[in-house]
């Protein structure tokens, strides 16, 4: 696969969460992640994609194959123009939920990935970026 290859999946319906998972599975396996790492990445994508659908209604997932010379990895960015997160630290707390779920989406996805960044503005939207690097 070409370095820096990228793509996107629009998340508009519940079914698109599964479409996003399949896209992530394909690219993660092309990058060369192992079975368990792929399961971690796909599960994190499912949680974050579901958040987009549940809280914002719709949004987009952009994926980006990473290479910094010595290691390769995968970056996923979930963007929405939803209500935003008033308190990001609170949203990352275990069991915190405003959407009637179990509150494991954000903290769970953070545990499954190597890096996570959240940029959010109330009334404007949220961008959650996660990265996973290949272990060697």
């Amino acid at each position: 696969m070409n370095e820096g290859s990228q793509g996107e999946v629009k998340i508009q319906t519940e079914a698109d969460i599964a479409v996003a998972r399949r896209a992530v599975r394909d690219v993660a396996s092309k990058i060369g992640f192992g079975v368990t790492e792929i399961a971690r990445i796909v599960t994190a994508a499912s949680e974050l994609g579901r958040n987009v659908h549940k809280y914002a209604g719709s949004g987009v997932m952009r994926w980006n194959a990473l290479s910094n010379g010595t290691s390769s990895g995968l970056e996923l960015r979930f963007e929405d123009q939803g209500p935003g997160i008033a308190d990001v630290n609170e949203a990352l707390r275990e069991g915190h939920t405003t959407g009637g779920g179990l509150g494991m989406g954000l903290p769970g996805a953070k545990r499954l990935m190597d890096e996570m960044e959240i940029a959010s503005e109330v009334g404007k939207g949220t961008t959650v970026t996660v990265r996973k690097w290949r272990r060697r």
Binding site: T43, R50, E94, G108, A109
Partner: protein, 126 residues
């Protein structure tokens, strides 16, 4: 793309429900309806939920499995979850997923044996 359907069959005295590799939300939601519906129609003692094909268990899927097992319990049946892959068990645990007190088995065969043992114990007591 439509995800593969759920398979529901009666094996001996239990309902064997097999989930596809990566079910979308509507397929996961169908698990509850189809299982409870089949439980009430067939004379079965419980449910073996075959997860051996499943490649990902996110919080929504896990919650549906736990709720289904609870509902089957209310109807008087027992649920045994069978065949979870190592990568799925690792990931689900790291995510924070739990399946309550549901019984588990390494394979569908083991699960059917477990269900059979429970049946024999019941008969012995009669």
């Amino acid at each position: 793309m439509v995800s593969e359907p759920i398979s529901v069959i009666k094996v001996r005295n239990v309902l064997l429900v097999s989930m596809p590799a990566d079910p979308d939300d509507s397929t996961v939601a169908a698990l509850q309806d189809r299982t409870l519906d089949a439980m009430s129609k067939h004379d079965v003692r419980g449910l073996v939920l075959d997860l051996s094909k499943v490649e990902i268990l996110d919080s929504y899927f896990a919650r549906t499995v736990a709720e289904t097992a609870q509902m089957v319990g209310l109807m008087g049946g027992e649920t045994i979850i069978a065949g979870m892959r190592p990568s799925v068990a690792i990931t689900a645990t790291e995510l924070g997923v739990t399946l309550g007190k549901t019984r588990t088995a390494m394979t569908v065969e083991n699960a059917l044996d477990l269900a059979g043992q429970a049946e024999r114990k019941v008969k012995a007591r009669r």
